[in-house]
Symmetry: C2
Subunit: 288 residues, 2 copies
């Protein structure tokens, strides 16, 4: 059972950061790596203006009904990991597995929409969540994790405020990651939405300028990897989860935006920038 | 999409510890809960005599081949969560899902056996691992998590030392949890192994006195819940993973033992013992 260990991971193993598994994109992380994670999490908490005490921690699996309501599987069927079971104690080897009521979380923010589903909000609501996500990726270059943590800040509000909040987080994220020593490039991005051609075109165009990625190098031979993104969902999730915004008869489907930080990719970028000795890394939280 | 919220969880929600999801046994945990988790993890690191710098963090999914080699699915098919995918971008709704090469980790220690598989050890090897585990539980009383973290200390050694180490961890675990303010009862336990009747009997008897659980109350109306366990695997995993122990022709299949701590259950027990105000909880790490 030899471990698949891409060459580019060798120096991360030698540096004491991780240990590979036999599946590419699936890594065991050392307590040294987790020390860097904790510093990064503290830096993210410190810059969040919503006075969050820190993130809500979501389990690696979410109710299937949440993902169905969000229509995730219509857009990214190839990435979704569904949890199946052999069923009962009476099952025997060879019995087909059957789907359970949970799937692996494809993004951490799916934990929050059910909390405000089927309600009307009169003021913007802010969320700060983190959790393990899973995507059935087919490539395995450095930084292409199948299992990874995503820290997400989310707002649910009206059209104008949701967009303003996203733009503020784009600036805030770029400022923070630059201060942490990373060279950041901001790039407009499109999620490759999936579906019949008409739907594809419609959604593709909707996506124009809705998503921006913060890109940096996570290893010496990396041309650039998205370590964070900011996204406008417009009213897609407001529609899907029955969330309305407004008061006094002026209610409309709520808009939402998120700012998402890929924890493991960011730590890889920080290792690439600052080296293997955590003692000489800069302070991540500004003294006030 | 109303949340399933057993009554007994109400006061934990009111106390600021967690937020339920629509699937029982699946909980979102607040940063307050995670503060308690961090204190508990530090206490566990402090009492581990193997000089571990802290646990190796394993992803919530493990390679399917590891679980097959361990024969976990032969014993607990009803608990195992297998990850399935709709497959390709060309898949359409209704296509059957197909198994991937990963399953949800049923215990955190499955991350470590492949690291020493197919080798011969001359000295005991110690591991300290933690990760999210998943079990397809059918009941949902307080403390019955489907997704939870398990911190495991593991030794791979010869027969005598593996058993001695387990007994030392039984005493150490009882001492630690008692010092943290929990009333602990030690109970012999059997895992309900599964299989044809002959195999069932054999494994069942093997299990006699191999497993002890540390039991305490996790809520007011709880008659007692296992929050930790110590286990001798005898040479089962040594056989399965081709790990031998000894030197100079005296090699035999290695024996292994583990001490496993259920992080979420322990925090529930600590909340039950010390209340909702973290400020008045006792110190968890003894000053030296």
């Amino acid at each position: 059972m030899a471990a698949v260990k891409p060459d580019a991971y060798d120096r991360l193993v030698a540096g004491g950061w991780l240990r590979p598994t036999s599946v590419a994109g699936l890594l065991n992380l050392t307590s040294k790596f987790e020390t860097a994670v904790a510093r990064l999490q503290a830096a993210l908490t410190a810059v969040d203006p919503s006075d969050s005490p820190g993130p809500l921690w979501c389990p690696p699996v979410v109710p299937r009904e949440v993902i169905e309501r969000a229509e995730y599987a219509e857009s990214f069927p190839q990435l979704l990991g569904a949890v199946h079971t052999l069923g009962s104690e009476e099952a025997v080897a060879g019995d087909p597995a059957s789907p359970t009521d949970v799937v692996l979380a494809p993004a951490s923010c799916y934990a929050i929409y059910p909390q405000v589903a089927d309600s009307t909000l009169a003021e913007p609501v802010f969320f700060d969540v983190v959790g393990h996500c899973y995507r059935q990726e087919v490539t395995s270059e450095v930084g292409r994790f199948r299992s990874f943590r995503q820290r997400e800040f989310v707002v649910i509000a009206d059209d104008g405020y949701a967009l303003q909040w996203r733009d503020e987080w784009l600036a805030r994220g770029e400022e923070l990651l630059t201060r942490l020593g990373l060279t950041i490039e901001v790039k407009p991005a499109n999620d490759p939405f999936f579906g019949p051609v008409g739907e594809f075109m419609r959604v593709s165009q909707l996506q124009q300028c809705l998503k921006f990625e913060l890109v940096t190098r996570v290893s010496a031979d990396d041309p650039g990897t998205a370590v964070a993104s900011v996204n406008s969902h417009r009213d897609h999730l407001g529609h899907r989860f029955g969330i309305r915004f407004g008061r006094g008869g002026e209610e409309e489907p709520a808009h939402s935006s998120c700012a998402a930080f890929g924890i493991e990719r960011l730590v890889l970028a920080l290792i690439h920038a600052h080296g293997d000795d955590l003692e000489v890394w800069p302070d991540f939280v500004e003294s006030r």
